[in-house]
């Protein structure tokens, strides 16, 4: 049982594209920037690969938050993948809201290969925001509903 407590550290799953965001996160590493361990990364080749079921799987498996990070618009390694992502996520967000997963728990960010600092900052901010909100405890909430 996930014990809700003051010390609950959020679990956040990050889907990062290989060419920009993942490389940016690597850069944060080579630069030895310290940030929260609460974000766990899944590498995809392009954010355009991300199926909504991945996001839903993450939440239903116990994630308190999900972040998708890809290349800045116009810089997608595969030309337009991130544009498709933007549209899909807009729709997915509405769906998630209906399930009670709102705002801070689901983020879409653009992180370039040179933006290690930005990645570290996003991870910290998101973790802090979700920590304040508390665990999602989706299964438990769904059961109650």
């Amino acid at each position: 049982m996930v014990v809700p407590s003051d010390n609950h550290e959020p679990r956040i799953v990050g889907f990062l594209c290989n060419w920009c965001a993942y490389q940016g996160a690597d850069l944060a590493g080579t630069s030895r920037m310290a940030y929260t361990p609460n974000v766990r990364i899944v590498r995809v080749m392009c954010t355009g690969r991300i199926d909504p079921t991945f996001v839903l799987k993450a939440f239903s498996s116990g994630a308190d938050g999900v972040i998708i990070a890809g290349c800045h618009p116009g810089d997608c390694h595969y030309s337009e993948g991130n544009y498709k992502t933007t549209r899909r996520i807009a729709f997915l967000r509405k769906l998630l809201a209906q399930m009670g997963i709102d705002g801070e728990r689901f983020r879409l960010e653009w992180v370039s290969a040179g933006e290690g600092a930005k990645w570290a900052q996003i991870a910290d901010e998101m973790s802090a925001a979700i920590k304040e909100k508390g665990p999602l405890a989706w299964r438990e909430n769904l059961k109650e509903a």
Binding site: R11, A34, R43
Partner: protein, 665 residues
């Protein structure tokens, strides 16, 4: 294909990476944890997994234990995935059965607390994914034995010559009317004080004469299609209005042309004609007509002096822009740098005072082919004292944080040249640090010290003409704190030379997009690995050389150019290149022919098979981005190596410690 989890035998290898990982992550604990996971036949840890003995460990296990899959938990897959894939292959295991887990860049290096727990979750996820990884076959395609070099400065010239000398065809595309770049604008070069033109013009001539080099000046790359080994490049050839095949470079046209314009080559300090070559040693020595200053073009047929005087009838106002398509196997981008505009820093007076100039402008003054014939004059007079201000726009959080690398050295060069040309001139260097790191550089610096150059350590607050004493009247005063002495100084000089930052080109972003490259945080183009792959990029087959990758001097530029040539030749000589195996494939049984995927592919890799009424993906064109996979409503497209099954298993296992006990699952 494994039916269920129990069938698979996975080996897990956890790297200490010296203390890089082991210093923060408890590798023993993690190894024990991995051993307990389902499907794991063996779990080991070792100091350096990528080393010979480390690789041998894996190879031995594959062979002796008959492993079906390998998980290596170590640095980023962007670092060593190819290394460990080779190990698997050598041991007889398909390289795509390897899953790498990043517990260094994204774990041990960034988390002081919680690294071990996170490592366990990441490894658990990698193991889960590894269960479902399948063997994939690599495809090979032939490489077009030709290279494209973009940019005709010293970097592009050197790269082109080396590839051409190896017997390969090179297309050299240059935007300006002549090759030579910035280097041909320079006077002498440090630390040897070689005349820049003397060492460069022979190379420029060699380019022109080389049977393997097709030189296209006054041209730009406008489109790049294809992939490594098989690029299709479209080049726009701008109209010169002069027929290159007829022109002999005699010069009568520009002699007779009555219309003048500011010379870009002379940084606006001198003039040129409307029909011009940018400098006398231009290659090709064929002029271009500037449509913004040519009266024949502007006023519909008025003038025409050049037409009249050209004995070869080479002037052709009917020329239009031409698009040319070439096929190459490798591309070398050598588009160079721009110079920071110091007018942004108003207190240094660049715009206000005509005797505050940039280093590039000074090179033109100093150069015998420049607007003053090599005489250093300002307002018609020789300066008796010169102040040289370092780090203008460099090492500056407001403009560029980086150091531009070459300025300390050329500032010393200037001091030497000024004192050589103007007897008894006083030269003051306003510096933060003296960076003289290269071969012969320190010696050059020591020499400057004996030549009566004054070094003032401090960043000038201001260059002003408001005199407060008799000796300052009519001069420029550099106001600066001398930090070694601890006093504010006012240094009156006749001329100030600013050392502006070397910047990425104004259109660096467009160039990056054109060639599918990234920019680093400072705006220069991004290399694949800062130390080990300085000229390769994330886009296979495209290489960056010279200052487009970052500020550097001529020796380093040439070294990179040669490196880029070697990369291109390695690709071409191999003759074939392996394509991405992790492409998408349509499961024909599931495809309903809805055609949603067809327009989504940026590479037009998906076509509709009319006969079968199914979507069909061309494996040679597919890059494996997965956009079509996510879009298919029937989940009929499978993204090899990144299947739904693999990713979902990975996600679930990633959160193993966030859920109720396994019994409930």
């Amino acid at each position: 294909m494994p039916e269920g989890k129990s069938d698979v035998k996975i080996g897990v290898y956890i790297c200490h990476c010296g203390s890089n990982i082991a210093g923060t992550v408890d590798v023993e604990e993690v190894t024990g944890f991995a051993q307990e996971q389902g499907s794991v036949a063996v779990a080991r840890n070792y100091k350096f997994m990528c080393s010979e003995p480390g690789q041998a460990l894996i190879k031995q296990d594959i062979e002796e234990l008959g492993l079906d899959g390998v998980v290596v938990a170590a640095c980023s897959p962007r670092m060593h995935e190819p290394t460990f894939r080779r190990v698997c292959e050598a041991a007889g295991l398909n390289p795509y059965r390897l899953d790498m887990c990043n517990i260094r860049e994204q774990c041990s290096w960034v988390h002081k607390n919680g690294a071990t727990e996170k490592a366990k979750a990441l490894i658990s996820a990698a193991i889960s994914r590894a269960r479902y990884l399948e063997p994939l076959e690599r495809r090979e395609v032939p490489v077009v034995p030709a290279a494209l070099v973009v940019g005709g400065g010293i970097a592009g010239i050197q790269a082109a010559l080396k590839v051409a000398d190896a017997g390969r065809k090179v297309y050299l595309v240059e935007r300006e009317p002549s090759i030579g770049g910035h280097m041909i604008q320079l006077d002498k070069t440090f630390p040897t004080l070689d005349c820049s033109a003397c060492i460069l013009t022979p190379k420029m001539a060699a380019v022109k004469a080389h049977p393997n080099i097709e030189l296209m000046t006054y041209s730009e790359v406008v489109d790049v299609q294809g992939y490594v080994g098989n690029f299709k490049v479209t080049i726009r050839r701008k109209p010169r209005y002069v027929d290159e095949s007829l022109c002999t470079g005699c010069g009568i046209c520009w002699e007779k042309c009555p219309w003048k314009a500011e010379s870009e080559f002379d940084c606006g300090l001198g003039q040129r004609k409307a029909i011009y070559t940018p400098f006398p040693q231009a290659v090709p020595n064929v002029p271009v007509i500037d449509p913004e200053h040519c009266v024949y073009i502007l006023r519909d047929g008025k003038c025409g002096a050049c037409l009249k005087f050209c004995e070869r009838e080479a002037i052709d106002f009917n020329q239009t822009e031409k698009m040319v398509e070439v096929e190459v196997g490798a591309i070398i981008v050598a588009t160079g740098y721009d110079v920071f505009d110091p007018s942004a820093i108003t207190r240094l007076g660049y715009e206000r005072f005509p005797n505050v100039i940039t280093s590039l402008e000074f090179e033109r003054l100093c150069n015998a082919t420049g607007p003053t014939g090599g005489h250093i004059v300002v307002n018609g007079q020789e300066p008796k004292s010169v102040g040289i201000i370092h780090c203008v726009g460099s090492r500056d959080r407001k403009y560029h944080e980086y150091c531009s690398r070459v300025c300390c050295m050329y500032a010393l060069k200037f001091a030497h040249l000024i004192r050589e040309k103007i007897e008894g001139a006083n030269v003051y260097q306003f510096y933060i640090d003296m960076r003289c790191f290269g071969k012969g550089f320190e010696e050059f610096y020591q020499r400057a010290g004996t030549e009566g150059v004054t070094f003032i350590r401090g960043r000038p607050a201001q260059v002003t003409d408001l005199a407060i004493s008799e000796e300052e009247q009519g001069k420029l005063v550099v106001v600066c704190e001398n930090t070694l002495v601890g006093a504010v100084m006012r240094v009156p000089v006749d001329m100030v030379i600013l050392c502006p930052a070397m910047e990425p080109r104004a259109d660096a972003r467009d160039v990056a997009r054109l060639f599918n490259l990234s920019q680093s945080a400072d705006g220069f183009l991004l290399e694949r690995h800062a130390k080990l792959e300085p000229v390769a990029t994330a886009s296979d087959g495209v290489f960056i050389v010279g200052c487009v990758q970052g500020p550097k001097d001529i020796p380093d530029t040439v070294a990179q150019a040669l490196a880029g040539a070697a990369e291109a030749l390695a690709l071409i000589d191999k003759g074939s290149v392996e394509l991405e195996a992790a492409t998408a494939v349509v499961d024909e049984a599931a495809c309903s022919g809805c055609k949603i995927c067809i327009p989504l592919c940026p590479y037009s890799a998906i076509t509709f098979n009319e006969a079968e009424k199914r979507a069909l993906i061309n494996e040679a064109l597919c890059k494996g981005c997965g956009v079509c996979v996510a879009a298919c409503p029937a989940a009929a497209i499978v993204a090899r190596h990144f299947t739904d099954q693999q990713i979902l298993a990975e996600v679930e296992a990633l959160l193993v410690d966030a859920r109720p006990a396994p019994a409930e699952v």
